[in-house]
Symmetry: C3
Subunit: 315 residues, 3 copies
């Protein structure tokens, strides 16, 4: 915001590489220094704004809000799927009125699809997703993965549509959480009797930017490995995912409201579906604790998220 | 709410006689016990919801939110007019953003009609309702009645319509309050020169369920004793009463807002119209005091509300 | 509000010179005394409302909310331009969700026009207003004036329209603040080469009534000295000024929100454009201090606001 009268500079205009305040026309360079104050030649040195290290990578802007000297672009994880020629993304954004950790819970919980997303990606009750075993593994500091394999199932409407195949399929799901707030849902589907190497795959990137303690900027990108040039499909996937995340947002915002009303945390009673969410929260809490206890501690997240095709035990 | 992640079960679905949560599909029986947790066979005993004794009577659901062992259906007052072959009800609901006691005040105050309801049931100023004497009597524990007789008056539009008679009428009003929150307005009108036994009568039941300290679920039912099969009249009365209670709601919500702003209670200055409201509040306060002082105290409200035709002194 | 059940009397009706409450029909005289309480003959003496000295002058209502005995109509400043045969006003009202002092700041700051009002009265950047010198003078107790002269400039769209002259003009601006909350913007424009005595002049009266600490009733009136009978122009000016003040309101409300979020006051860094606003605030603060320190102190504002044509140094 402008150091003069607190106007957000986002409400001003960009002039070249500078920002101009919409109230009195003061201009600021990328460094934060004021370069022009209409009506005067001397510019007080306190008339400057704070600037932050910012870099564009993988089609996203990465901002470093901590100690400027510790900003290190080499700590940015490789999530190239959002911006890579072998993958085509459908992208979107949700403003979620809930703590980002409730969204991480939801993304790491591969058990709610049947109920929240019945009309989109959920299986029907006969083949209820939570009945398939789930393996949860910690893969590195702050990195956890849950894997579920569902062999020989009826395809939910969304998968039947993208495969253009209405017979039975094999399906796997991988839910990944990289602390503090990057998640990836990697899933693959292929018709029974075909090779997993030819699977239709999607890497759904969930890039959560906490806004306040109870609201989250939720940027998402669904990158697929098939029919890369099919713009109609890109649109259709975008629409379907928007609808799916709309359904999730309802559940998240209700939970947030209930927590504000009743206090405490969730889950109140730990069920099996909570294994991965709970372990992901513990990884995060451990990192927070270390950072609080050791001022020299630097969290170095694993840079690569393994997306190799899981060994299929199921066909 | 679901004991797992606090989702309101009202946001789920009913499956047979059980409720299914909309997040992970957990199911709960009428007792509150969890009967199904998808993905696991063992159900932790803490995964249960609180249940309440509930019974349907007189076309209404009665819930007992106190100590379960004290629930006693024989304490439910007889308000059969809502669901009885000799009476035809027009029913409705208002969500009122005010303390339920302000609504009781309003219902027991037979003096505001001329001003708040001028266009509907109010008399015009020449025959201003508060100028007719009002008799207030305590009829039992928690039960109070105010009676006003208005002989030989011009009919307000609503009564002229239901009587299909535009000449002068005799009218009486009875306002009853049964602590804590059942009110009944019993009124009768009949053309001057005819018998009160043939009066058109309405029993207006006001069934107030406090939601919070400052909001009330207001269920109402206007049961009449004439033209029982006349569905058009049932609709018309429903519309007219909705409009009348809309007018009251405005006044109640303004009072609530003013009380939150300025503190204290109403009336600030006691006027004659406040006699019944003030006495009804005192009955309620006395019951609250007894309950607070004596843990064994059980409030046994009078079961019958007398609706006999008042002795007419007026023709 | 009604002393009975706190209903705002503004929600009632006027009956002759009395106000009648919309709940129970109680009536109140100009003195505040209750003159009628339906249903009773004795009226309790506490059933009265507070009344305030009020007078109509210069087309406005002036209320005195302090000690009644100190009310003195002779302390009302002469702002006759709002209601005088030699001036034609365009009048309007804005409800501004900001501290009235932020509006005074804005009105005394003759430097924001280029940026906030670029499409209406702002000069373009080449002739950026803050680059013209500004003279600020204290003219009396609580009275301050800032003057800026802009010779031989391109006319902004609004002035070209009212002058019906699209060539270069001379322009002056006078911003006046009379503590606590009367401001006047006196401006004049005339084509280069003509006499300032024939200038098109406007006295823009900004009459700020604080509603709460963070909201303001902003009554305004733009009185002009030319084309007095031109009703279309009156309308056009009203529209243009509404749009201009809409633009200001956005800036003021953002500042209010930012101050509530971050605390403190503005300006955070004093710039040259803040000279008049800061001095106007100091005059106000000095008066508040004197009033707090001396219970006998009576602020006697200068009654006349000088609007003589400034000596032009510029042609």
């Amino acid at each position: 915001m402008c150091p003069h009268r607190l106007m957000p500079l986002s409400a001003g205009v960009r002039v070249g590489d500078e920002l101009q305040c919409g109230y009195h026309g003061m201009r600021f360079a990328i460094s934060g220094a004021c370069t022009l104050a209409p009506g005067q030649t001397h510019i007080p040195p306190t008339a400057c704004v704070r600037s932050f290290p910012l870099v564009e990578r993988h089609g996203l802007l990465w901002i470093w809000m901590g100690n400027r000297e510790r900003a290190d672009v080499d700590l940015i994880p490789d999530i190239h799927w959002n911006d890579h020629p072998e993958w085509t993304p459908s992208r979107g954004y949700h403003h979620v009125k809930a703590d980002f950790r409730l969204t991480v819970d939801n993304l790491m919980d591969l058990g709610h699809e049947s109920w929240v997303h019945l009309r989109t990606i959920g299986q029907d009750e006969e083949e209820c997703i939570p009945n398939y075993p789930l393996k949860v593994n910690v893969l590195g500091e702050g990195l956890i993965r849950a894997l579920r394999q569902m062999p020989n199932i009826e395809p939910p409407p969304f998968f039947a549509m993208v495969l253009d195949h209405y017979g039975r399929i094999n399906r796997w799901q991988t839910a990944v959480s990289l602390a503090p707030s990057i998640c990836m849902t990697d899933f693959g589907v292929y018709p029974v009797g075909t090779s997993p190497d030819d699977a239709y795959r999607s890497h759904v990137l969930h890039l959560l930017t906490p806004e306040t303690e109870s609201t989250t900027h939720y940027f998402w990108s669904v990158a697929r490995n098939r029919r890369l040039e099919d713009d109609d499909l890109t649109q259709e996937i975008g629409k379907a995912i928007t609808q799916t995340f709309d359904e999730d947002a309802v559940v998240l915002e209700i939970q947030q409201t209930q927590l504000e009303k009743y206090g405490g945390s969730v889950p109140r009673v730990a069920m099996k579906v909570d294994e991965a969410p709970i372990r992901a929260r513990r990884l995060l809490e451990a990192l927070v604790k270390r950072e609080n206890e050791d001022p020299e501690f630097v969290y170095r997240p694993p840079l690569m998220i393994d997306d190799s095709t899981p060994e299929l035990e199921m066909i």
